[in-house]
Each structure stands twice: as structure tokens, then as C-alpha cells.
């Protein structure tokens, strides 16, 4: 068990290294050179050469990569090519919105979806279960901006509350004001993760429900509610944690689309800007942050899957 987790951690570490290689060398094939971009077309060749030396761009790629990786681990993300501002300053202005929206989505969306999914597993085949399955099958395949559009139409045009586009600063606002400010993005993301979570948590519980010891409990005449909460749920916790971590990882894509849709400043809009202005230092730094979050969540998902498996925990 410990060995398996250590092995998985090792694989996670290798993955992070592979990811950093992909991101670093992926952005290295960008046409044009950082010094030239920063100094503009009018710079003399001498200036460009001196600047290249200062940035370390005259060194071999592998040295540049190692320096970049070391700086990243020390928290130094470099300086933006487009605006000449340290990346960490750009992030400091914006990370709060992204973290706030994601955290609130997780805090609201996860418990509700789990409750709905487990309820569906408790009464499989009933009308409630079928409707829920049909709705989540439909939602799971719909793009984020479709859900967002539906919500905007409902809240802004039909009910006349909320704002379609989030404007203004969020400085000095209370928690309640912030929540109402971000109500539409958060609701959209909740729907996005709910559709997957409901299906997967339902399947996880049903999977446990079909094991022999549950059949035994049913034959003994244990009430269904008691079977679910005392027998099934404990063994379904691992798969459910796995499902939750997986879905929070998928949230990375959702966050990017939703930030652009509602037009508020966050890390995702920053990286899209970076791609549009070909600011590769920005893409490298932010890309690493996004991918690290994703890899860590995947790691948690896998470890939860191991930890929940009694056969792996107590090998013969």
C-alpha cells in the first residue's frame, strides 16, 4: 500500500517533469526571440545581443531549461514580455478571483451533486433517477458557454436579476457582495461539474451496491436506507473522493471558458491574453501553475482509489 502510494508519487513527480519539458520546449518553438520582442524592431543588434546575454538566452536550451525550472521552484516566474511587469505581480492582482470562484464552486457544487447522485443510487429506476440521469447525460455533453448562456437568459432577461458581464473591481467588497457578484460564473461551473459528478457518484455507489456483502445484507432484511449509509457508503468513499478530485481537475477547462465568457479578470484570462500576445514567459509560468494543479488533483484521485481498495490496503 505505502509502496504503491510512493510509486504513484514518483510517477507524479516524473509527470511534472515531463509537463515542464513539454511546456518549456513547446513554447521554445515560438518564432521570434524574446529579446527582439521585448526591445522592438528598432533595437540595434548589439543591444539585442546584450539583452539576450542578460536573459540567459545565449546559453544552450538545456541550461535555459534548468535555470527556468529552478527559478519556477523558487517562485520566480520571470518577467512578462508584453508588459515588462514581473509575472508574479500580474498573478497577484488576479489570482483571488480565480481561486474564489473555483473554491466556491467546489464548496457548493460538490455536496449538492453528491447528495443528488447518492439519492439516485438509493432509488435506481424510479422517475427521479431517470429524470436526473437524462438531465445529466444532456448537460455533460453541452459546452460551458451553452450553460452560461442559458443562465444569463434566465437570470438577466427573465428574472431581471444579476449581471451578464461582471464589471468593476472586487476590492473592499464583503463576502456576500462578492458572491452575488460572481453568482452566474459560480452557478455555471456548478452545473458543469454537477453533470459529471452526479453520474459518476451514482455509478460508484451502485457499483458497491452490487457486491455480494450488500446482497447478503438485503437478504438479511436490512432496510435500504441503513444498507446505503452503514454498509455501502463507507466503501464508496474512496471512489467518490476519486470522482470529486477528477472533476475538480476538469474544472481547469471550465474556469478558462467561464472567465472569458463573463469577462472578469482571473488567471485564465491572463493566459489567453498571453497566447494572443505570444508572451511565452507568461504562458510558461501560468501553464505550469494550471498543469500542476491538475496533476496534483489527479494524484489525489489515484491515491484515493488505492486507499479505498481493501485488497490493496491489506495484501495477502
Amino acid at each position: 500500500m505505502t509502496g504503491l502510494i510512493l510509486k504513484r508519487l514518483g510517477i507524479g513527480l516524473v509527470t511534472v517533469l515531463a509537463v515542464s519539458l513539454i511546456i518549456f520546449f513547446g513554447t521554445k518553438i515560438l518564432p521570434g526571440d524574446a529579446a527582439q520582442i521585448r526591445l522592438g524592431q528598432s533595437a540595434t543588434p548589439e543591444n539585442v545581443a546584450a539583452f539576450r546575454a542578460r536573459l540567459g538566452l545565449d546559453k544552450p536550451y538545456i541550461v535555459q531549461y534548468l535555470v527556468w525550472l529552478k527559478n519556477f521552484m523558487m517562485g520566480d516566474l520571470g518577467t512578462s514580455l508584453a508588459s515588462d511587469v514581473p509575472i508574479s505581480d500580474l498573478i497577484a492582482d488576479r489570482y483571488k478571483n480565480t481561486v474564489f470562484v473555483s473554491a466556491l464552486t467546489a464548496a457548493i457544487g460538490v455536496p449538492i451533486s453528491l447528495a443528488l447522485g447518492i439519492m439516485a443510487a438509493m432509488y435506481p429506476g424510479t422517475l427521479y433517477d431517470r429524470v436526473l440521469t437524462l438531465v445529466s447525460v444532456s448537460l455533460v455533453a453541452a459546452p460551458e458557454f451553452f450553460t452560461a448562456t442559458l443562465l444569463v437568459l434566465l437570470f438577466v432577461f427573465v428574472l431581471g436579476i444579476g449581471n451578464a458581464i461582471v464589471v468593476g473591481s472586487t476590492e473592499g467588497k464583503g463576502l456576500f457582495e462578492l458572491i452575488s457578484h460572481f453568482a452566474l460564473p459560480i452557478t455555471t461551473l456548478c452545473f458543469v461539474i454537477a453533470s459529471q459528478l452526479i453520474r459518476m457518484s451514482r455509478a460508484a455507489v451502485l457499483n458497491v451496491m452490487s457486491s455480494p456483502y450488500i446482497e447478503m445484507a438485503i437478504l438479511k432484511g436490512v432496510p435500504r436506507r441503513r444498507i446505503i449509509f452503514r454498509h455501502a457508503l463507507l466503501n464508496a468513499i474512496g471512489p467518490i473522493v476519486n470522482v470529486v478530485a477528477l472533476n475538480l481537475a476538469y474544472l481547469v477547462t471550465g474556469v478558462i471558458v467561464v472567465e472569458v465568457y463573463f469577462g472578469y479578470n482571473g488567471l485564465a484570462t491572463l493566459i489567453v491574453q498571453g497566447v494572443q500576445t505570444r508572451d511565452y514567459v507568461l504562458i510558461q509560468g501560468l501553464g505550469m501553475i494550471f498543469c500542476l494543479t491538475y496533476v496534483i488533483l489527479m494524484l489525489i484521485a489515484d491515491i484515493a482509489a488505492y486507499a479505498s481498495n481493501a485488497r490493496l490496503r491489506h495484501p495477502k
Binding site: G26, L206, V275
Partner: protein
């Protein structure tokens, strides 16, 4: 995939004792008749495929033509001459939607075919090659698989710019990683089956085993997965276009239409330019999902459930 066997649709081919779940994955029998959700899916997908192929000929005007050149005003409400109104540059929404169908569906379809081409060859290749080669290819694949797809897309588009061939190749390569895993797992599963061993003992060549023994058995689960993969590729391409990094203006595609017309939500007369393309993508992907769900339920989604 539905976790329970849909016993109400399925007629077991043998009378006694063999339940649905014990049968191997097989092609849907000739008796396959879609449930009502399956029919809804087939009709909607058929409709969009028709529009995708014939859209440019059926469209009332060119994708960048103005229906009312004398009366320029953005986000006009529907009226004769522009049945879905006009967009942020006063172009006809209906025509752009019909041109965009071909681009969104065509790019996604070709990318999925490419993903299958790469993924199936490498996956089945890895399954039948030596353990060392298998391990190396799988590890590289895992590294790519552990990245959010949209991030890979962003890095590639940042590096080489966006064009339709770049989009197809990027999406194809990214989604080949998922296909690889499925094809490899299927290949390994079928490799150890008795009939393959029998073929090997008979002294059949590797190519014969792949085409005559493995492929016929792997085809059905792969085909069902093809539909699922197509959904993800459509969402991926549309998301990139929505972020302004996919199909470039003035060419229309559904994702970029949503982006171009977002302004309609805050100050436009008509919200149709945003709703129509978003609804088009949603109906298409949901319909494909319905067909896939129905098909995998009928053909015994045993393998795909396990993966």
C-alpha cells in the same frame, strides 16, 4: 454509460441461462432498434450532418454578406431576409450558422479520425510488442494524458498560430492519447483470449492476427468510443474558437460565433446571435451522446464500462 444492463430492450440470443453481461462485446445485432432517445439522437445528428455538407449551397447568402446593406445596425431582430436576425457586424446569423456547421463538424470529424488513426495503430502496436517498448510508449502517452487538453491546445496555438490544419492535427494528436489507452487495453485483453492463442499456435503471422482476430473483436467498442471522442473534440474545438484561438474571423464557426456576439448579452437588441450557435453545439453533442448511450447499451457496453 449506463451502469445497469438495459434488459427491457435486449432479447438474449440464447434461451436459457446466459445473461446479458456474460456475453462478449459484439456488434449490434440486426435486430438493433433504437429506443426513442436513440431515435431523437439519430434524427438530430442526421439533420446537422446534412447542414454541414450542404450548408454553403443552402445558405441564403454568403457568410460575410450583409442582408440589409442600406440599413446597417448590429444585432437586428429576425425579419424577412434574415430569419435569425443579424450579428455584431450586421451579417446574416442563419447563413453564418450554416457555413459554420461544416467547419465545426468537419474539423472535429477529421481530428477524431486522425486521433483514431494514430491511437489505434500505436495502441494495438504497443499491445503486441515487447513489454519494454510497450512501457516506454505508454509512459510517454501518460505524460501527455496528464495535461489538461485545453492547456496543450493553448501552448500549440501560441507556438504555431491557429489555422484549420493546425487545429485538426492538434486535436487529433491530443485525443490520440485517450484512444491509445483504449486500443491498447482492448488489444491486451483480446491478445490473451483462446482464439488468438490458437491462431498463434497455428503459426499465423502478426499482421494476420491483428486484422483477422483482434480487429473484428475490438471494432465495436472502438466505434462506440468514437462517438464519445467526437463529442469531446467538438467541445475542444468550440472552446478554442470561443477563446479566439481556433477558427479565425471572418470565417464562421460555432464557437467563434458565440465569442463574436457576446456583446449582444449586455447591449444588443437580439440575443439570437449568441443563443443560436451555442444551441447548435449543444444539440449536436447531446444528440451524439444519446446515440452512443443507446448503441453501447444495445451492444453490451461491458468493455467500455470497465475502461
Amino acid at each position: 454509460m449506463k451502469p445497469q444492463a438495459p434488459s427491457d430492450h435486449y432479447v438474449a440470443p440464447y434461451d436459457a441461462g446466459i445473461s446479458f453481461d456474460e456475453l462478449p462485446d459484439s456488434a449490434p445485432s440486426a435486430r438493433y432498434s433504437p429506443s426513442w432517445t436513440g431515435w431523437v439522437g439519430i434524427v438530430v445528428v442526421g439533420f446537422w450532418v446534412f447542414i454541414a455538407i450542404f450548408g454553403p449551397w443552402l445558405a441564403p447568402m454568403g457568410e460575410n454578406e450583409l442582408p440589409f446593406p442600406d440599413d446597417y445596425s448590429e444585432f437586428q431582430l429576425p425579419r424577412p431576409g434574415a430569419w435569425l436576425g443579424t450579428d455584431e457586424s450586421d451579417r446574416d446569423v442563419l447563413s453564418r450558422l450554416m457555413y459554420g456547421a461544416g467547419r465545426t463538424i468537419g474539423i472535429s470529424f477529421m481530428a477524431t479520425v486522425l486521433a483514431y488513426f494514430i491511437g489505434v495503430i500505436l495502441g494495438i502496436g504497443a499491445a503486441i510488442s515487447t513489454p519494454r517498448v510497450d512501457m516506454i510508449v505508454s509512459r510517454i502517452n501518460d505524460a501527455f494524458l496528464s495535461l489538461p487538453t485545453i492547456m496543450l491546445g493553448l501552448v500549440v496555438v501560441a507556438a504555431v498560430g491557429s489555422s484549420i490544419p493546425v487545429l485538426i492535427i492538434t486535436a487529433g494528436v491530443i485525443y490520440a492519447t485517450v484512444v491509445f489507452r483504449l486500443a491498447r487495453a482492448l488489444g491486451q485483453e483480446i491478445m490473451v483470449m483462446d482464439f488468438v492463442e490458437a491462431a498463434r499456435v497455428r503459426g499465423e503471422g502478426r499482421w494476420w492476427i491483428i486484422t483477422r482476430e483482434i480487429w473484428p473483436n475490438a471494432a465495436m467498442p472502438l466505434l462506440t468510443d468514437f462517438g464519445l471522442r467526437l463529442i469531446y473534440v467538438i467541445l475542444f474545438i468550440s472552446s478554442l474558437s470561443f477563446l479566439g484561438l481556433g477558427v479565425q474571423p471572418p470565417q464562421a464557426d460555432w464557437g467563434s460565433m458565440v465569442r463574436e456576439n457576446l456583446g449582444a448579452l449586455s447591449y444588443g437588441a437580439s440575443v439570437i446571435p449568441v443563443v443560436a450557435p451555442a444551441l447548435a453545439i449543444a444539440t449536436l453533442t447531446v444528440a451524439i451522446n444519446l446515440v452512443v448511450d443507446d448503441l453501447s447499451a444495445h451492444s453490451g457496453g461491458k468493455l467500455s464500462k470497465r475502461l
